[in-house]
Subunit: 336 residues, 2 copies
DNA sequence: TTGAAAGCGCTAACAA
DNA sequence: TTGTTAGCGCTTTCAA
């Protein structure tokens, strides 16, 4: 690799002139600019990002931290983020916390040490959980998907309450009254919001939900399966199920299949989050899908806005909540 | 952040002694070692990875480059890699080439500039495609999943030929003779291997495959769908389908569903690669699954072995091919 | 066993 | 408009 020195020598100027030319060309004479450009081209120069990072105290890396990278939602999200980052000449460091706050803390420390220019964080733990390690972050960051009390920051997420409201309303309109809710992990922002939307819409419709069939399935396929087994074999079984996530819906569907309970003839099923296998399952599941590309683009933009702002700029905090889209499938029908 | 200077001052030694203590403690007097350790503890010192990278010419970052990060196979793979990397105190930069060789070239250049300590690469393009940009890599790297002619390197992958052989044999044993193969993108290593295993097993069984029903579905759901539509509506339709990947199987199943062709009553379906939705699809699809954790662990180990080897060490190249596992489902049965 | 000093490649304040 | 110079924080000769 050639260094700034090689370019300077070949162009017959000092290294600071080369640096100046590359960083603020308008402050350099046109003729000099040309000479430097030619020399740089000739030796195939490109600045060493590590030296730049050391000097500037900031690298051209972005951190993306999520609770479970195998969730297809985050896979798609990551792909978009990476695309935007590359366009802005940044690389993306990805880290998976496995929903463990101590992992999150360790990872953020590593990212800080690497002087990443910004962080996209899907925080783990309950909304009211510890957040000092986030609040103390010295670089720009944007929270997404999961909100956290006590952290003043940009936030991008889908309207989780609206997602379950849409599904609930759809089921009520079809004539369902006894609707079960397979919730996400209690205490998590998205889980609480999704439950809230469900309960509010039920109440508004004059058929308040029966607490006995509003359960916690922990955003987890196994719990989705087990809870559905319990609900569908118990007394007074529901005529419809709303799953708070794609993996829960997966478990629920499996349970119904195994019990020989036909969907939608005997039970309607709707879920939140897109599922890559939606097209292949018969019947196709009715889902409220999050606008992943929009979420990722917005998060990128908010982060880049802060990264590229001149130091000292004060930028108002943005909270962007995007509406989900309901995709009707054959899994929801009038109750028997 | 405190620097090495702060530690030196507090411990009453020079900065080189601090560095020595941290890097090669055995070369430092016990008493000095203690003083330095205490001082470091007291000021909460931790070495700046960027300064280390600049000096050492090597960062504690690992690059992982794949063609499509949304593929669940790579999602799982990444998760494992990230876990192993963290254990070795490395962060992972992830990049998606979208199967474009020019992206791959650009990304490898970026990773080289970041002085990553190693790269895990699932190379894109045909086996005989350009590979200069890979061969010229100055840091350790391991290819995985997809092999490349002309690159002498460690390689980790599943036995792709065996995967389709197993499925083919299973179908033949059930009595199928007219078996269609929905192949991956022509020219790609995995695609050719999977096809080869199919053809070899067919030939060995004395019922050579009909070229008319050995098609290219390009590792793509849409092509899987379209090719299946064509095959199943054409003359002399096959009694069984083998899909070269999970997404192809997805498309094939969708096509059969839409055509009203019952599986396995009217057609058997088997595929390569695990599918997260396997449990939910009725019937459960027979698959040959790659041992993802083993693949990822092996790749990590091979890479780390090179990264941690003293400079100048010659390490023989390893090619590790792991056997897939066949998981029988209800999607394969005797032909009608 | 420890310290002084050079320097990795770059940026930026300051001087010319 | 350009050059000199002092570092960013660390590792690593080399000398003491």
């Amino acid at each position: 690799m050639s260094t700034i020195r090689d370019v300077a020598r070949l162009a017959g100027v000092s290294i600071s002139t080369v640096s100046l030319t590359l960083n603020t060309p308008e402050r350099v004479a046109t003729e000099t600019r040309r000479k430097v450009a030619e020399a740089a081209e000739a030796v195939g120069y490109s600045a060493d990002p590590i030296a730049q990072s050391l000097k500037r105290g900031r690298s051209r890396l972005i951190g993306m931290v999520v609770s479970d990278i195998t969730n297809p939602f985050f896979g798609r999200f990551l792909q978009e983020i990476e695309r935007h980052a590359m366009a802005a000449d940044h690389l993306v460091i990805v880290s998976d916390t496995s929903s463990q706050i101590r992992n999150e803390i360790a990872i953020l420390r590593h990212l800080a040490a690497q002087r990443v220019s910004g962080i996209l964080l899907q925080p783990t733990g309950p909304m009211t959980g510890p957040s000092d390690h986030i609040r103390q972050l010295s670089m720009p960051f944007v929270l997404f998907d999961h909100r956290l009390d006590g952290v003043e920051s940009d936030f991008v997420g889908a309207d989780n309450a609206l997602a379950s409201s849409m599904l609930t309303e759809h089921l009520i309109r079809l004539g369902h009254r006894r609707i079960a809710f397979l919730g996400g992990t209690s205490g998590l922002y998205t889980a609480e919001e999704r439950k809230r939307g469900f309960l509010a819409t039920m109440a508004a419709s004059g058929v308040p939900a029966d607490p006995a069939i509003v359960v916690d399935a922990r955003y987890d396929g196994r719990h989705g399966y087990e809870q559905t087994m319990r609900l569908m074999t118990g007394p007074d079984r529901p005529t419809a199920l709303i799953a708070a996530s794609n993996v829960i819906a997966l478990g629920a569907l499996q349970a119904c299949n195994e019990l020989g309970i036909a969907c939608p003839a005997e039970v309607s099923l709707a879920g939140i989050d897109d599922v890559p296998w939606a097209a292949v399952v018969q019947p196709r599941i009715t889902t409220a899908v999050q606008p992943i590309e929009d979420l990722a683009r917005t998060a990128s933009e908010l982060l880049m806005r802060r990264i590229t702002a001149p130091p000292g700029t004060v930028i108002d905090r943005s909270e962007i909540i995007l509406a989900p889209e309901i995709r009707l499938g054959g899994s929801t029908a009038r109750p028997a």
